[in-house]
């Protein structure tokens, strides 16, 4: 499994739990879970590019 796939799976599982436990209505759970997923994956991509540019 690639490192990116690991990040995506981690984000998927963690976001699912966060969405269900931190919000009350199903609609808000889905929205918050999706928001967490984007933050997880987005920040991983952003930090990866940052480290790549620093290491050049």
């Amino acid at each position: 499994m690639s490192h990116f796939a690991s990040v995506v799976f981690f984000a998927l599982f963690a976001s699912t739990v966060f969405g269900i436990t931190q919000r009350e209505t199903p609609r808000r759970m889905v929205r918050y879970g999706f928001y967490c997923f984007l933050l997880f994956v987005g920040s991983a991509i952003a930090l990866s590019w940052l480290m790549y540019l620093i290491a050049r």
Binding site: M1, H3, S6, F13, T16, V17, I20, T21
Partner: protein, 147 residues
Amino acid sequence: MRYSQKGMATEENKNASAGPVSQPASQQDFVYLPLIAGWLVPGAGHFLLRKWGRGALLAASILGMFVMGLAMHGRLYAGAHDILDILGLAGDLGNGLLYIAGRLLGLGAEQVQITTADYGTRFIVVAGLLNVIAAVDAHNLRTGRKS
């Protein structure tokens, strides 16, 4: 009453949250049962409260993360030699019976030698922490703090 008690587990809120959908009689005696069941078996606390969909998603997520951690040759913490090991062990213990079964069956790598195995170790620890969050959520549902 000088301050708002909205969202708190007062008697009034408990009665209001019980509403038309009251708890089954078997669950009215021991309030910590969903918390303990949820810790021992991922999603079981929600299943006890008849939250089938939420319980299934939580169980799939936590179980999936734990299994993926093992598949990535992650390590199950067995002892506490330094502070990081203590924290890792605390996280692993959050998996409840999954951790105990994993230890009894000798699952998990002895030593972390590759990068993915390190990720796997974190997967297992985070699965335990997420399971604790899910168990506390089941407890909050049981006490009426959350609907």
